[in-house]
Amino acid sequence: MSETAIESARDEEPGAVTASYLVAGHTLKSWLTTTDHKRIGILYALAITVFFFIGGIAIGLVRLELMNPKGAILSDEGYNRLFSLHGIVMVWFFLVPSIPATLGNFLLPLMIGARDVAFPRLNLISWYIYAVGAAFTCYAIVAGGVDTGWTFYTPYSSLYSNSNVLAAALGVFIVGFSSIATGVNFITTTHMLRAPGMTWSRLPLMVWALYATSIVMVLATPVLAMSLLLIIAERYFGLPLFNPSEGGDPLLFQHLFWFYSHPAVYIMVLPAMGVVSEVFACFARRRVFGYIMMVYAIMAIAIVGFLVWGHHMFVSGESQYANVVFSFLSFAVAVPSAIKVFNWTATLHRGQVTFEAPMLYALGFLGLFTIGGLTGLFLASIPIDVHVTDTYFVVAHFHYIMVGGSVSAFFAGLHFWWPKITGRLYSEAWARFAAIVMFLGFNTTFLPQFIMGYGGMPRRYHVYPQEFQVYHVISSVGALILLSAYLLPLIYLGWSLLYGTRAGDNPWDATGLEWQTSSPPPKENFEEIPVVNAGPYHYHPAEEAPDAARREPQEAQGRKP
């Protein structure tokens, strides 16, 4: 495979590569056998869109049901299967692959000036692995569903659940390999295929974010795979792993699971941070404030994120002293996230800020991520966590991070790079409208959940005490608004594909190598591999001398005012 790497790095003859990647073959076969990272990104995008709406319909039914405290429409079983379906699909089949596999696949080689990823065929295989995993999960759904929640806690999942745990767990297990393969591919690509002059200190933050994400994927995903295999081993082969009456440990799974799944939150959030950094720089027309600090923060989050899994287990029966250690580490990992918020905010300072749709989505991200992050501090404080864990407070918190944060950023990125990906412009007015409705709908849905969570409303409850109904009703109305806001882009972006005006190569006047090639890019990305001689975000060439990015902190340290 290293041959391929060298092959794709080699400059090809200019002129041979001018046709757009979209028209380089029209047949279905040409798409299904492509090794072009851009096409593979699009294949992923189609797949995750389907899952996003499957998960959305499931939760639509759940929210409808929750308007009534007595559980009028669904059976207990039906309810449990729907929220499990929602969680499993949204996390494993939408969020984890969302930004890395779609935008990341499309952009990483373009942003570092490469012709493709290091292992193009592995990239295609990753997509097929994803598809096979998805098929298992779809089977589990069609065959009646699964009722373990997306967390698959033992011994419920391994011994007691009488639903399709095997198919669902296998599905998740298999997509894990797709994550690992993508991670390996991105890491190798970033190391080997950077264009001449693209030093580490000149990498766009998006690339740094994808790189850090890839490290987390490669290191953490095998642990998830192991833990799912252990469930299967106990469930189908009777190995006494989690069953205490046979000497097993019911908590072992939770440790393994969260050892993966806490870092997995960063798999969802780090790429979002990358996207937002690009968008802020472009629409504030400034270099991202504190580039070096942003890079350190990304790496710190990725690394320290491995040490905090125990904060999901404060009430699981762990020692209180272990809890205190995990609490401390959780506060520690929050510091770099806070710094990033400050840096994005400071990026607006002295800018020439405009409010195109991507910027609105990114501003939405910033607001919602701040709230999600601050409520994370509540959960890291043990006495508060003891009360609110496993209640709607947690549901609200993780939706602020994963949906308010990651999904908003995904939309920011989708709109930002849409002209590059498709060569077309979308309706700016509709896009701005959707961004605003999404923000409002989101808050209407999830703010009440903090309140009812503190009031003691447990999560995963089909029937619930009367006193929480009013909050559930508000939340359901919000969900309706939110779902319609998610449908809008489907319409106006679809419209743009067919009727949108031509975008031109660089409609935002953005920096970054991906904007230096045509829109949509040719199959080989660049007619000639570009040579880089400055840091990213050169929006004020006069103010910031080339390479200022790299020298900034050292200079600052050396110079005593």
Partner: protein, 312 residues
Amino acid sequence: MIDEFAAKASEYAGSWDRFFFALVAVSAVVVAAVFVVIVGFSIRYRKGSDAYRPTLPKSLGFEIEIGWTAATAFAFLFIFWWAASMQLREIIPPRDALQIHVLAKQWMWKLQHSNGVREINELHAPTGHPVQLIMTSDDVIHSMFLPSLRLKQDVLPGRYTYIWFTADKPGVYHLMCAEFCGTQHSRMTGRLILMTPEDYSRWLAAQPEADNLAKRGEALFRSLGCSGCHAPNSAVHAPDLHGVYGHPVHLSDGRVVNADEAYIRDSILLPDKDVVAGYQPIMPSFRGTVSEDQIIELIAYVRSLAWEGRQE
């Protein structure tokens, strides 16, 4: 029934609430500040505005970053310290705590008071007196959630977990299962009924007469044949159980463990796991012979065997 939102039934629940709302206030200030700055910058520095846009000296940028990094780190350290110290103060229950056994199963809560009174999905407890719940599960993981006391603790099969509280406001409150446990998870709820000590004793007295737990345990101890070896005058070399509960035990592999509920349970089900120093591992396992309920009774019996017995 119960309709007070976020009712609280104890003094420390109040202090946790104060901590919570202090954090809410701080966060609200931070969120407001961030929003004001974002909106302020967005308007002031919107494209084409005539705001003054000087070049910041590079070193100033660096100092700002060190400044806010340090500030956040200190703020977080302070919140952590506040939260953790509040928690660690509460770990060890007072010695005179009233002990109530809880057995969770799909989908109900079974409770046993030490005098033998049993109840299902209702927990009667006195106010003004520390109460400790000793909990285990028959099947999957459940979680005992008492929102009015701001308490929650998972209940695991094969292990004992504990919570304790001193309530101070009589009333009827929610008792819920907070860890997803299968089909009827959301129906695994009940009532926490807090009574003044007088009402509580009256309630206890009015319950149908039942042998207390220890007494039932004693009968089991005989019928299962435990007494054959463990009686003080038995011919078989087995440890006398008087005064064992709650005290350190030296094991043959050199470890010293505290004889708590989990230890006694393990000794019954997995006798080879912790062998007492000076004894042979000859005790048979009672796995499959005794139920969780019976183990609770046996534990209550062992607990009732005081030191005096040993001195006879």
